[in-house]
């Protein structure tokens, strides 16, 4: 009973954070609302007995990824955004579409009778269970994912070091960027005429 109350409480916080994320006009408030959503989700995982997932949710999403979001917003010094009235397509197709999807999902879950309750901790969620899944049952997909992330990191490094390469090319003679010089000389001669 106590667990159910807590579960609903954190669920409500999660929803409130998600709605606040959309309503706020300043990006930093939206980012902070997203952190609230992440933290509330972690609390939900904890209540379901998935302690490890909860901790990872906080460490990775709320603690690391969202910090990068906040830093980016701080660095760009993004100001408050203007509220638009929203696109007509979203109102005409999106809202009914979401409603239909929600009804379908609820109906399927209720009709198929998959909504039985499970005791806390009955599902595998301990670090040992997750380690066995990751490093034994699903070892190949796990390793492939890590290679994928490695590729993404390398791509990021290549993209980040690109301006330097462009500048290097521009410094060489005979490149299109080099046409600036005659113009400079021209402007200099013009100023000479004015004198």
């Amino acid at each position: 009973m106590f667990h159910l109350i807590l579960f609903l409480f954190f669920g409500a916080i999660c929803m409130a954070g998600a709605i606040n994320l959309l309503v706020q006009s300043h990006p930093i408030n939206s980012a902070l609302s997203l952190i609230v959503v992440m933290a509330a989700l972690a609390a939900e995982y904890l209540l379901l007995g998935a302690e490890f997932v909860a901790a990872v949710q906080v460490i990775v999403y709320a603690g690391a990824i969202m910090v990068l979001f906040v830093i980016t917003i701080m660095l760009l010094n993004a100001g408050a955004e203007e509220h638009t009235r929203g696109s007509r397509v979203a109102i005409l197709i999106g809202v009914p579409g979401v409603l239909i999807a929600a009804v379908l999902v609820t109906w399927t879950l209720v009709a198929r009778g998959q909504t039985g309750s499970v005791a806390i901790g009955a599902l595998p969620g301990s670090p040992q269970d997750i380690a066995r899944l990751l490093f034994h049952d699903f070892l190949l997909p796990f390793e492939v994912t890590s290679v994928l992330i490695l590729i993404a990191i390398m791509g990021a490094v290549v993209l980040a070091s690109r301006p330097e390469a462009v500048a290097h090319r521009a410094a060489k003679p005979g490149q299109p960027d080099h046409k600036e010089m005659p113009q400079l000389v021209g402007s200099g001669s013009r100023s000479g005429k004015e004198r």
Binding site: A55, G63, M74
Partner: protein, 338 residues
């Protein structure tokens, strides 16, 4: 144990631990001033009470009565929330720290720990990783270039060193096979302290922890010679005091973790009548934590500050590869022995 007894015991434990933590925070400030003074051949606080022991109280009263300035150019909601965020996360992480053995009080018995989670270590890491928001938001909401630079430095530094900090703990976890802080301490019985088997991990942990808590030689976020005071430039009175307390509370947490993970926690010689047997482990724990607090102060007043690029390249190019190498070697040895 009935639910009422559980709630009563939990409340008593929480209040006691928070009370002790805040007192420890106040007296670490006293310790810092006293030790720094003696390192520089001064006396430090001597006027208020014997050896200046009541100085923390005087400081507290002063903080409360100072004028609380709120600059007109700040972004008010976050400016007010930032010190609270820093403080809340700094205090919360103490909740999973065990500081003693099982004790029997009349009909009830309890572990000397607010709550024993089997992922205690991850909880501490998670909470400390959230603490960076206090600093980052303070820097941004102050709307001041020095504050912003301090906040940015703090968040970049804390994210960078958190990686090596987390990896340095993996070696200990491989040996112990548990994320519960109580199990980690229990595995170090008979002087099998982890410092002897994981010395490299210990030093990586110590260095990263200094960077995580923004202490010298990693106090770039508040480098007073270049950034006035960094992220708390615009803060005064109690809001400033909250950042100050958060820093010292984080130091206490880090010292507790170092004690638990590498120095056998509350383990030590236990003898005498039952009451002494219950108290002695807590005494050993406090002594070890005190040693680390002293080390913090000692390092601060001995080493100069890094340059920012040195700090970053040291974190990513030295500490991180070292931590990874430590994990590989530890894993190989454990696998070879098994």
């Amino acid at each position: 144990m009935s639910i009422t007894a559980f709630v009563i015991i939990s409340i008593i434990k929480s209040l006691a631990v928070i009370g002790v933590l805040l007192t420890a925070v106040a007296y670490s400030v006293w310790l810092e001033r006293k030790v720094s003074a003696h390192i520089q051949n001064r006396w430090g606080p001597t006027r208020v009470g014997p050896f200046g022991l009541l100085q923390p109280l005087a400081d507290g009263v002063k903080f409360i009565f100072k004028e609380d300035l709120t600059e007109p150019h700040v972004y008010k909601p976050l400016y007010i929330a930032a010190p609270m965020i820093a403080m809340v996360f700094a205090i919360t992480s103490i909740s999973v720290i065990p500081f003693g053995n099982y004790v029997d009080i009349g009909p009830w018995g309890t572990y000397l720990q607010i709550t024993d989670l089997n992922i205690g270590l991850l909880v501490v890491l998670g909470i400390t990783s959230m603490g960076v928001y206090g600093v980052a938001l303070a820097g941004w909401a102050s709307n001041n270039k020095y504050s912003l630079l301090g906040g940015l430095r703090a968040s970049a530094q804390m994210i960078s060193y958190e990686v090596s900090l987390g990896l340095s703990l993996v070696g200990v976890l491989i040996i112990t096979g548990s994320l519960s802080l109580r199990d980690i301490v229990d595995a170090q019985r008979h002087l099998h302290w982890n410092i002897f088997v994981q010395p490299v991990a210990f030093f990586i942990y110590l260095i990263s922890a200094y960077a995580e808590t923004n202490r010298t030689p990693f106090d770039l976020p508040e480098a007073e010679s270049e950034l006035v005071a960094g992220y708390h430039t615009e803060y005064s009175a109690m809001k400033f005091a909250m950042f100050f307390m958060a820093e010292y509370a984080n130091m206490v947490t880090v010292a507790c973790l170092a004690t638990l993970l590498f120095f056998g926690g509350w383990l030590g010689p236990v003898f005498g009548p039952p009451i002494l047997q219950a108290v002695l482990p807590v005494v050993w724990f406090c002594l070890k934590v005190f040693f680390f607090m002293f080390l913090y102060v000692w390092v601060r007043w001995t080493l100069p500050r890094f340059r920012y690029d040195q700090l970053m390249s040291f974190g990513w190019k030295v500490l991180l590869p070292l931590a990874v190498a430590n994990i590989v070697v530890t894993a190989l040895i454990v696998a070879w022995r098994a």
